[in-house]
Subunit: 292 residues, 2 copies
């Protein structure tokens, strides 16, 4: 297998949802834009839909014949891209499994373990190395530096530097800047989740990412925004594998966010700094607690 057709399968599944809602599908280029894939893939999807008797397709006419059934969809595990699979598998090994700092990482072994070629694993490791958790010895193995206390402290040090600066520039944005509207939407979601915290506390992780990314984006600095990727991935997996007191932690963080958002709106520099520092401090503590 040279390449998995996950792009096709994922787009096919998404296209089924579109199909469920209309009696005929739009033009190929329009579908391509909607689903974010090329016309080649769209045509493969249409062909498949024809085969499944979902669609009568003749040039511009794309008439829906029947509603999609659950078995028409490709299974979810076939739509994950290879790099996602490798990432998950690797993160499980190093965060969940008891991986010791200093351990060697073996491309070949990792590839065999995941059931994939070495090229993909290698490319993943190169991409991943910018997160500072692994390091390459040329012509030799990779070294796991480990998700240690030092790592967390170094990460949060930079995060705090960047976020304080971003928050300050956010507060200075012109009132008509679209970021304020984004902030409104995010604030509303905070209230919604808090109102039903027992059931919805799990939605925090995603909202947290969205909020902080919005703040960082206002720095207009690619290095600051890119750095947030590291925060995202660390917190993403951290939330996934460390669920003690998740409800309380998230509720507190939501309150802090609301305070932080109010401070941004006040445009009062000192107030922004105080609220931002307070939240970052508790985020750091949460992260550190989970380490040992």
């Amino acid at each position: 297998m040279a390449k998995q057709n996950t792009v096709f399968k994922d787009a096919f599944n998404r296209c089924l949802k579109l199909l469920a809602e209309t009696s005929s599908l739009p033009s190929e280029p329009e579908l391509g834009t909607t689903l974010g894939v090329s016309r080649t893939t769209i045509r493969a999807i249409l062909t498949r839909m024809e085969e499944l008797q979902l669609l009568a397709w003749d040039k511009r006419a794309k008439v829906v014949l029947r509603q999609p059934k659950p078995e028409d969809y490709y299974p979810a595990e076939e739509t994950d891209s290879l790099s996602d699979i490798i990432e998950r598998s690797f993160m499980r090994r190093i965060l969940a499994g008891g991986a010791e700092p200093g351990m060697q990482i073996n491309e070949l072994e990792l590839a065999r373990d995941i059931g994939t070629g070495t090229t993909s694993v290698r490319e993943f490791l190169i991409r991943f190395s910018r997160f500072g958790l692994i390091e390459k010895r040329p012509n030799s193995h990779w070294i796991l530096k480990g998700f240690t206390r030092e790592f967390a402290l170094e990460l949060t040090e930079v995060r705090e530097m960047f976020e304080l600066r971003s928050a300050a520039s956010f507060a200075a944005l012109a009132p008509e800047h679209p970021a304020w509207a984004d902030l409104d939407r995010i604030e509303t979601l905070h209230h919604d989740i808090l109102a039903d915290i027992d059931n919805r506390y799990k939605e925090f992780s995603e909202l947290d990412e969205r909020f902080h990314l919005l703040v960082h984006t206002s720095s207009s600095n690619r290095f600051i925004v890119d750095f947030y990727d590291i925060i995202t991935i660390v917190f993403h997996y951290h939330y996934q594998w460390n669920k003690t007191n998740a409800r309380e932690r998230n509720a507190r963080a939501l309150e802090e966010h609301l305070d932080y958002i109010a401070a941004l709106r006040s445009r009062d520099r000192a107030r922004v700094e105080t609220a931002c520092r307070r939240h970052l401090k508790s985020a750091r503590e949460t992260l550190l607690q989970s380490i040992q």
Copy 2:
């Protein structure tokens, strides 16, 4: 060709220099440590030296038979690693050649151009992407974001944040910390170069890198130290292709460094900040001037 034996050739050349200075070579493991390669490579080197009648090798006895001649060395262009070749070639294209921001980068074309396989080019691009000059569109091409004014401003903004913090922590290092001795050596070199600036101004680039890296290292933060890689590569190629007023620029920077070094030694926080800011400001101006 699966793999170029550049490690062997480069180590062989370095080993020839060792051979020129003694009458017999040390043990295989010792040579390996000295040259930074494995015993496998050492044995290949010794075999080659035997073939060239440079050495009589029998187990532990490695008797030098004659001095190496220039033709014994492998040519310098054969000792460069493939990734160095790709890097140089790519940087020339985007910094020296008139590459427009927004331009597409084609892995295959680049590989053909350099005369190498696509895998190596691809891995280079992935590694290089962390410098923020290119961006990947999955399943499609890379986009050149360009060495623009915005890039330089974003880069220097982060650099200034990091270096101010690093300089402050440098000044707070214990007096017995080895970094102070490194600083002494670097200062001496500054005086040496300034004393013969007309002939030695070209040595500034390397010294500059060494000095700032020393400062950044004292932050003990891998993200800050790693970020300095970006500065290094940008300035490295910038110095290489922009030589107007190099002598004057370098002389001024050397003076600023000396002032900065004196400030670090004084351990006076305000003085450190002033000297650091002044130097970073002029470094930024130099970089910006070269862009348009």
